[in-house]
């Protein structure tokens, strides 16, 4: 079948359509996932299609029983999804912003994640929690500010910590579609992180349904001198940094982590075995982050491969500031990656 250019948002929409057609147990829930609920008789149907428009059109094909607008009751509807998943449905919940985890953590961490285990394997909780994360900063582009401290967080580190959850963070439309289909078919709760900046990123996406495996990282640029591991948007930052490093004569291998839980240690260790050097780039706050987790794994299992300190590049240990001038500094960018590489290699800052 054909391949077209879709952006990440469109790829997600396509995955939802295909899975809802395939399996009548798949339902979509969340605030304004269609919008204007209860007003079809007034000709109002699907006016929003989700906070980022990625559920647009679903209600037309699947109706309001399977595309369910919810009130602002995160604990309630995420918990309802848990109950629905336990009893035979496969809910795909749109949480709008991952920051709203604050309003439903119990159902995610204590209920969904632990249910199968606590119950000794009697139940499964096949649900997907989709959530936008990250900032949309474009350094140097003049604008007042971003979405600030409560609508720009990354937060996958907190959820990767939780046993029983899987967490994916695709960096491109192809993976977004394939990972979402995998997530929907997965019998465990999967948190699907959608980077707000990447939503409009375009790329080749096959028309047919396909899966991208959860738990597998990918070498997206081969190299021999050092390994850069990126997550989501940071994969692109790593690729840009790799281009710049190439002009210095350094061939960086870039790995797109794709899944932050479970982490694909093997792919990373194989790379570091070859390159002997590692920098992990992560948009999340640094403390107890995925970046430091990966660094620690390599400092243990890959210690003998290492020729240099393991470096991590994260957002700072601060909330996300509003002012664009500060937000631009908050999000890691290629220069910081290059700085980390130089520090790792003992190369002094260039004059």
């Amino acid at each position: 079948m054909a391949t077209r250019k879709l952006n990440v948002r469109q790829a997600i929409t396509e995955a939802l359509f295909q899975e809802m057609r395939r399996d009548p147990n798949v339902i979509v829930m969340g605030e304004d996932v269609a919008g204007g609920a209860g007003r079809a008789h007034l000709g109002i149907i699907d006016p929003w299609g989700g906070p980022f428009r990625s559920t647009k059109g679903l209600i037309i094909e699947f109706g309001p029983e399977r595309v369910i607008d919810t009130p602002i009751s995160e604990m309630g509807f995420v918990g309802a999804a848990v109950g629905a998943a336990m009893t035979g449905l496969r809910p795909v919940v749109d949480l709008s912003f991952i920051d709203l985890l604050g309003c439903c953590l119990d159902q995610v961490m204590n209920q969904a994640a632990k249910m199968r285990y606590m119950m000794g394997g009697q139940v499964k909780v096949p649900m997907v929690l989709r959530a936008g994360y990250g900032t949309t900063t474009i350094p140097g582009q003049k604008r007042g500010g971003g979405a600030a401290a409560q609508h720009s967080q990354t937060m996958y580190s907190m959820l990767a910590h939780v046993p029983g959850l899987k967490c994916v963070a695709p960096s491109n439309p192809y993976d977004a579609k394939g990972l979402l289909i995998s997530a929907i078919r997965d019998d465990d709760p999967v948190i699907f992180f959608e980077h707000k900046f990447l939503n409009s990123l375009s790329g080749d996406v096959p028309e047919e349904s396909y899966t991208v495996p959860i738990g597998k990282a990918e070498v997206v640029r081969p190299g021999k001198d050092l390994t850069l591991v990126g997550i989501g948007r940071m994969t692109h930052v790593c690729l840009e940094a790799a281009n710049l490093l190439a002009s210095e004569g350094l061939e960086a291998e870039v790995i797109d982590l794709k899944t932050v839980s479970p982490i694909d240690e093997e792919t990373i260790l194989n790379s570091v075995k070859k390159t002997h050097r590692l920098v992990v780039v992560d948009e999340d706050n640094p403390v107890c982050s995925v970046a430091r987790d990966v660094a620690a794994r390599v400092a243990d299992k890959g210690f003998d491969y290492l020729d240099a300190p393991v470096k991590t590049v994260n957002a700072p240990h601060t909330p996300v500031p509003f002012s664009a001038t500060l937000e631009d500094l908050y999000v890691p960018q290629p220069p910081q990656v290059i700085e980390a590489v130089h520090a790792m290699l003992g190369i002094g800052a260039r004059a």
Partner: protein
């Protein structure tokens, strides 16, 4: 009693007595130094669990609280497997991995004891969604305590069930205390049943010591639910005879008067008196149940004691599927 035939009456009595004896035995085991965990005893509240579950079909669902042994037994979970679970044995309902606060028997429609206060209520909404979407006709009863009436999930869950007209019966067990906190302190407004008005659904406060009253109110709510008319809220006034957990001394925060008032209104004694007075069951029939249950509980303890512990490898299984 009216509409209930002998076998149903015996069923009700047996389940109430099973709860009572199961927990009495468990309590004795703990108090006499058996190496078990603690637990939240349901004793005193039997009429609620059994009255509600008597109005349900076997394939209907329930969600529960931290005080869930009674709900489990009322819904038909095997006391042997429950006791084994309390012992942390692999033959337990949850393979010993859940314990008192997580007993679950999915095959019986028992969706889990749930010790996060209010944590089970949204699951009832979700099960209701499944029932509605799959048109199975199943009803969900969500048990919760008076203390749970003040947590956000109470509000969110009832509102969701109401707007979606889901087949959920919200069964509040108002035993007057959340730990040592009296309901009149923690809970603004007149009563919990009255909060139903906020959601435009029926709310009724009943005598939770009277299993017939609970059965009647639940039956009505279940009819409404199955007819697609949405949820109801039933507040059952009841009492726990023991402390919040085994080891808690309730006389530090409860009044002797109040305690004896409820002991006088013991749900099992009320039932016995009523069926005997009305001639629906006789003393011998009831005593026979008592004896049968006593044997079952003995068997449950023996089963639990003699069952194997989980293998160490169980630590790592059931975190994820496959």
């Amino acid at each position: 009693v009216g509409a209930l035939d002998t076998s149903k009456l015996l069923w009700i009595y047996e389940r109430m007595v099973t709860i009572r004896q199961f927990e009495d035995r468990f309590r004795q085991l703990v108090e006499t130094g058996r190496p078990l965990g603690s637990g939240h005893l349901y004793i005193g509240q039997e009429a609620v669990a059994v009255g509600v579950c008597a109005a349900l079909e076997p394939n209907d669902w329930i969600t529960s609280t931290h005080r869930g042994h009674g709900h489990c037994i009322a819904k038909g979970v095997d006391p042997r497997q429950m006791m084994a679970e309390l012992y942390g044995k692999v033959t337990g309902t949850n393979r010993g991995k859940g314990g008192s606060m997580h007993i679950t028997d999915y095959s019986k429609g028992m969706l889990g004891v749930n010790p996060i206060v209010g944590g089970g209520m949204p699951h009832a909404v979700g099960a209701g969604l499944t029932s509605k979407l799959k048109k199975t006709g199943q009803v969900v009863a969500a048990f919760f305590g008076d203390g749970a009436a003040n947590i956000g999930t109470f509000h969110e869950s009832i509102n969701l069930a109401a707007i979606w007209k889901l087949p959920v019966v919200f069964a509040c067990e108002n035993n007057h205390y959340a730990q040592s906190t009296p309901v009149e302190y923690s809970t603004a407004g007149n009563n919990i049943a009255g909060r139903a008005a906020s959601y435009g659904i029926p709310g009724i406060a009943i005598d939770g010591q009277d299993v017939f009253a609970v059965y009647e109110a639940t039956s009505q709510a279940v009819r409404r639910a199955r007819a697609g008319e949405g949820p109801s809220l039933i507040e059952c006034e009841t009492y726990r005879y023991y402390g919040h957990f085994i080891g808690d001394n309730p006389s530090r925060y409860r009044l002797a008067d109040e305690e004896s008032h409820y002991h006088d209104r013991d749900p099992i004694q009320l039932f016995r008196r009523r069926v005997i007075e009305e001639g629906s069951l006789n003393q011998a029939q009831l005593d026979e149940v008592d004896a049968r249950v006593a044997a079952l509980i003995e068997e449950a303890v023996e089963f639990a004691e003699s069952s194997p512990l989980p293998e160490p490898s169980e630590l790592y299984t059931h975190v994820y599927g496959e």
